[in-house]
């Protein structure tokens, strides 16, 4: 009987065996048995203030480290509070393992106290999930969960464990191998497809590398650079791929999509070949799908075969890990395609329509200026985490990303409130790196309670609130499409709350800046504080808008560089 341990001990031993070094969570009744062995474990447990914070922190940790992020919560509301981050992780292919307690097996299905069918709830947006009622199954479920979350197309996996399984005595048997009949990681890419792709590239005259977040997940940035330089074609990086290819590289045209650069959007529209690497033809990139890149043939590389041909038909589909595929493609490229006219037209566009902004006429603070200065002062080694909205787009536009895993955001799901907890997780994953959460005043008010967690656990993140006292992106749409009728977007965040006092109350340093001439000094002050989280209330102009813009549902050909202002296409050579 000496080998007998509780299911809870088996769970914690399993997490240790899976290589977990940190998890974010909050205890409650059903998961309580697990918290006793957690107390003794070498795994660092960070006690959050809300389970949603635990989930986003796990995402932030995962996105900077490439390892699975782990969050843990109790049954019922504890588990349902993880729903948003799990949905977020599914949309952005982030490896997260969520552990939840469930009511005891015999109580399942009886509407017991704090019972929620979290397996059923999370089926649509977990890569897989488990309900464990037999303590003997705990190690296998955990091993499989980490395997599934971190291999292939990464994603969230939830393991729901019934309380009586945690309390029962069992033996700990870590599986020696994982065999899942219905799960397969793609092997080496097919040689014929590589040859077909190389042939399409060789005969193209207007190729573009359309790079998505898969390149970052696959750790294939170095390989991408080598391939891109060998082909010599322009590169666009999607919102999920910023940093996968250096912004400063002469072949980089910027970000495509709804708020992409004119050169990146137009390059895709006019291309005769899209070399699509780990991107998924999302509607925010394609605009009206039927008019997207109408003349382009498509090479599409993805580790998830269901992405190939999902939104756009493909000429050369390649299912495989990007790193392996790009490595195979490099020697197949024999010469650069002839792209003289293509590059001269694109370079002209890039020079004519850089992503820029106008300073507010009233002398108030431009939000873009604040973000640009943070990027310049903190530099390209720092990690930048955004919420969702105008500030997110400006942070994608006005900071230079030179390295992968330095830009985190909620791309697919568009989860307001992502930034503070995700930055917390990022800082835990990269403790020696400066981590900035660049957040909106709306987003910040959804999840700022995790600053208490940061203050108490020595997680000194820096938060720049881009306070335009509005739900800014919604307000922008109201300006453009609803005749300026600002229904319920005025947050009055310059009146309440007082973000400086709030920061102070949460154990952070609070700073305020509303004059352009104070921006640098304020950022430098924040940079000098490394033993406490810092929150800066940047009070910015509320009418600043994100440009360029392709209105939702319209063609990328109708990109606007300012209100009612299209690029001067007649002077372009495309």
């Amino acid at each position: 009987m000496s080998n007998q341990i509780t299911g809870a001990q088996s769970l914690v031993k399993s997490l240790e065996a899976a290589g977990v070094d940190v998890m974010f969570g909050l205890p409650g009744g059903a998961i309580l048995p697990a918290y006793d062995p957690i107390f003794d474990s070498k795994i660092r447990h960070i006690l959050v203030r809300h389970e949603q914070g635990a989930g986003h922190a796990a995402e932030g940790y995962a996105q900077v480290t490439g390892r699975a992020g782990v969050c843990i919560a109790t049954s019922g509301p504890g588990a349902t509070n993880l729903v948003t981050p799990l949905a977020d992780a599914a949309m952005d292919s982030v490896p997260v393992v969520a552990i939840t307690g469930q009511v005891p097996g015999p109580a399942i299905g009886t509407d017991a106290f704090q019972e929620a069918d979290i397996r059923g709830i999370t089926m649509p947006f977990t890569k897989h999930n488990f309900l464990v009622t037999d303590p003997r199954e705990i190690p296998t479920a955990v091993a499989q969960a980490f395997h599934i979350a971190t291999t292939g197309r990464p994603g969230p996996v939830l393991v729901d464990v019934a309380k009586d399984a945690l309390q029962a005595m069992t033996e700990f048997n870590w599986p020696k191998e994982i065999k899942l009949a219905g799960y397969r990681i793609p092997g080496e890419p097919d040689a014929q497809s590589i040859a077909d792709a190389a042939a399409l590239i060789a005969e193209s005259k207007k190729p573009v590398f359309y790079v998505g977040g898969g390149v970052i997940k696959s750790n294939a940035s170095a390989e991408l650079k080598e391939l891109a330089e060998k082909v010599g074609a322009p590169v666009v990086t999607t919102l999920m791929a910023l940093g996968a290819f250096p912004d400063s590289h002469p072949q980089h045209l910027g970000m495509p999509g709804m708020h992409g650069s004119v050169s990146a959007v137009t390059a895709l529209q006019k291309a005769d070949l899209l070399i699509t690497l780990g991107a998924r033809f999302d509607d925010r990139v394609t605009g009206k799908l039927s008019s997207f890149a109408p003349k382009a043939r498509v090479i599409h590389v993805d580790i998830d075969p269901a992405e190939l041909g999902k939104n756009r038909s493909v000429d050369v589909p390649i299912n495989g890990d990007l790193k392996a595929v790009i490595k195979a493609l490099i020697p197949a490229i024999k010469q650069k395609p002839e792209m003289g006219a293509w590059w001269s037209a694109l370079n002209k566009l890039k020079a004519t329509y850089p992503v820029g902004y106008d300073k507010p006429a009233d002398g108030s603070l431009a939000p873009q200026y604040v973000i640009e200065r943070i990027g310049q002062i903190s530099g390209s080694d720092s990690i930048y985490v955004a919420g969702v909205g105008q500030h997110q787009m400006w942070t994608s536009q006005f900071i230079n990303y030179e390295k992968p895993r330095t830009w985190l955001n909620s791309g697919g799901a568009g989860t307001m409130g992502y930034a503070v907890p995700a930055a917390m997780g990022a800082k835990v994953g990269a403790p020696d790196t400066t981590v900035w959460a660049i957040d909106g005043d709306g987003c910040f008010q959804m999840t700022n309670q995790e600053l208490v967690t940061c203050a108490l656990n020595n997680i000194p993140i820096k938060v720049a609130i881009i306070n335009n006292e509005s739900l800014g992106m919604v307000r922008q749409w109201q300006t453009l499409f609803y005749k300026g009728r600002y229904s319920n977007t005025d947050l009055k965040s310059k009146m309440v709350p007082d973000f400086v006092k709030l920061a102070d109350a949460m154990g952070c340093v609070g700073l305020r800046c509303e004059d352009p001439s104070d921006v640098d000094a304020t950022i430098e002050k924040a940079m000098s504080i490394n033993d406490q989280p810092v929150v800066i209330d940047f009070r910015v102009n509320r009418d600043s808008m994100v440009w360029p813009m392709v209105a939702a549902g319209t063609s990328n050909d109708d990109i606007m560089i300012a209100r009612e202002t299209a690029p001067d296409w007649d002077s372009q050579e495309l």
């Binding site: 290589g19 089926m123 191998e177 994982i178 899942l180 009949a181 219905g182």
Partner: protein, 178 residues
């Protein structure tokens, strides 16, 4: 829209039907019929799903199904090279003329009472529909019908596709953590 019959091998574990049904609902694929049952391997169940989709969407349905961890294999069963049948039980008002129609369709009368007959027919959906039409004149009291089940012709089995299972050592667990 066209009907396609998919044979789907799945783990025989709890929640699998919900996973498949949830996938069809959230991706807005139309299920025409669905039948689930055991296979020669007790660890594996077999679903036969008839979907109503266009050609391109069919590929998506198959690939999305295949992404479910509990789905082991998905194949389309082509009508020309397979037998595809469903079971119908029809209750009609008793009439001496029913018997000749039943015989014509290869069906049988499985229960006979003074005022009603129950007819059992195992046949293709098209022929079962014809049978139902022919019986309407006598007054159909109620009927119940199963989903289609299908087997492809020849000696090969769907399970032949599932033998090659990847096995990954957990010694490498730390690797995919890195």
């Amino acid at each position: 829209m066209a009907k396609h019959t998919l044979a789907v091998l799945v783990d025989n574990s709890s929640g699998v039907l919900a996973r498949v049904a949830s996938l069809f609902a959230r991706r807005a694929y139309n299920i025409d019929s669905l039948a689930v049952g055991p296979t020669e391997d007790p660890a594996i169940s077999r679903m036969t799903i008839v979907v109503n989709v266009e050609g391109h969407a069919l590929e998506q349905v198959i690939r999305q199904l295949d992404k479910l961890i509990n789905v082991i294999h998905v194949s389309e069963i082509k009508p020309a090279k397979s037998t595809q049948e469903e079971l119908v039980l029809v209750k009609v008002k008793n009439n001496p003329r029913v018997e000749s129609i039943v015989t014509k369709f290869g069906a049988k009368i499985v229960d006979s009472s003074e005022d009603a007959l129950i007819i059992e027919s195992t046949n293709s959906p098209a022929l079962n529909e014809e049978l139902l039409d022919s019986l309407k004149q006598f007054g159909v009291i109620e009927f119940v019908q199963s989903g289609v089940v299908a087997l492809s012709h020849g000696a090969s089995a769907l399970a032949d596709q599932t033998l090659d299972i990847q096995s990954i050592s957990t010694d490498r667990q730390a690797d995919y953590q890195n």
